[in-house]
């Protein structure tokens, strides 16, 4: 690894409609160190993923991917910077008008560098990895929620990225679905992929992550390992793990403000 490997957010601020989502936010995702971003719903966790992917631009601060600062890149330059990143969106974000096979092979078809038979072989291999080879000719509407997420993982894998982002990958899944996703994430990590997940599903976070970031009130209030997180004395973190009466009122006040 070079000195500039990894994804670095440095003092990033972002606001929308007069509401500050992130204030002087720092994050480091080093290759091989899997991280989870925690925080209550609506705190801006997904925004962090979108900022790193260049889907939205920060108001200030810098974001770099493997040494390339992306904040001022054009859309075509961003495409190159994103080459080593894939994302599994919360709802899967599969393309409705395409079959599962076309969804999985989408990036390879777009790049146009490989012949069709090679792309088909890769698609089958990736679908096999998530245990859904037989769905290749189905449309997303014919799949269950859990299957959609697994197809989204297969799609993320197709271009062999270094980093894979997961946006609430276990939301809405039954315990078996959650277990399947956890196992898939662990297998990806064994293959050398670095994962960055945003979630509030603590069992999954603890199962697949080495480090944790906690956001509260648009700021990073914790960055560390599991033991430090569990023993943290930071009030927001404590409330997150053991919500009580006071946290209910805080939550209601925040909702009213929003």
């Amino acid at each position: 690894m070079t000195e500039t490997s990894g994804i670095v957010m440095n003092s990033v601020s972002y606001s929308i409609g007069g509401r500050t989502i992130l204030r002087n936010f720092d994050l480091q995702l080093m290759p091989g160190v899997n991280r989870t971003i925690l925080g209550v719903s609506g705190v801006g966790k997904t925004t962090i993923l979108k900022l790193i992917l260049g889907l939205i631009r920060p108001d200030s601060g810098t974001i770099s991917i493997d040494g390339t600062a992306i904040s001022s890149l054009s859309e075509s330059q961003l495409t190159l910077a994103r080459k080593h990143i894939a994302i599994v969106f919360q709802g899967g974000a599969l393309f409705d008008s395409m079959t599962v096979g076309e969804n999985v092979g989408y990036r390879l078809i777009e790049e146009g560098l490989l012949p069709a038979d090679k792309i088909e072989a890769i698609v089958k291999e990736k679908l096999g990895f998530v245990g859904l080879e037989k769905t290749i000719d189905l449309y997303p509407a014919e799949l269950s929620g859990g299957m959609k997420k697994r197809v989204a993982i297969a799609r993320a894998l197709a271009a062999d990225p270094r980093y894979i982002f997961f946006d609430e990958p276990t939301t809405g899944l039954d315990p078996i679905g959650v277990y399947n996703i956890q196992q898939l994430m662990l297998r990806l990590q064994e293959q050398g992929k670095t994962t960055l997940m945003v979630t509030h599903d603590m069992p999954t976070a603890f199962a697949v992550s080495d480090r944790f970031s906690f956001i509260h009130n648009a700021e990073l209030v914790f960055d560390g390992v599991k033991d430090a997180l569990e023993s943290s004395e930071i009030p927001a973190v404590r409330e997150f793990f053991a919500p009580g009466r006071s946290s209910l009122f805080t939550y209601i006040e925040e909702q009213v403000e929003v």
Partner: protein
Amino acid sequence: MPARYIEKQTLLFFSELQIIAALALKAIARIFSKPFYYREFVTQLDKIGVGSLFICSLTGLFTGMVMALQAIIQLKPFASTSYVGGMVAVTMIKELGPVLSSLMVAGRVGSAITAELGTMVVTEQVDAMRVEGTDIVKRLVTSRLKAMLIAMPLLAVVTDTVAILGGYIIASGYSISPLMYWKSLPQFMKLQDLGEALAKPVFFGFLIAMISCHVGLRVSGGAEGVGVAVKRTVVFASIFILVSDFFITKLFIAFR
């Protein structure tokens, strides 16, 4: 207070117009560059062109029939019913054909484009495409624009043709000789009028494609946002078609 409100709305309108113009420039610049997304283009051509054939034919048929009916009643006292065909033709080809078929397409296809793109935005499919390295303008906007630019003038021609046939049906019912009807068709027309008849639907198609794509790609607020966006597309596209029709007609008259 009203002055400030008008100022704010005017600024908002022009900023929106500026964004649509920028999107249009990007979409046009990508028409002849690879990849061409043939499948997307053919799908859109089918949805816009073939899918709108029936509604445009129906519009043309009844408009032509009512035009002929009105013309016969007005011309009968002057014993000039031989001009019915010409009147139907000139009105339909120069004005009503392009405008009515465009309004139908704005309602049927423009709304569908906005709903489709809006849903893609809301379900993060557009973000997913961007992450996968797709040029969103080229894939989603240019393919629809190209299909619209080809389908719209053809639909206008179909509307005009069916309208003239509809006029003929009514004229036959009023004992007007078929020969007189068909011979009178080119009576009030010049060759330039055919150019106008094709230029208008091309421009209206451009407006529908750009407005529907722009509004669809800027949807926010979930399912409710998609509904609001669809309404905006139909209203804006219809207004822009009617307003621009006046100015295009003025332009053609100036260069006559």
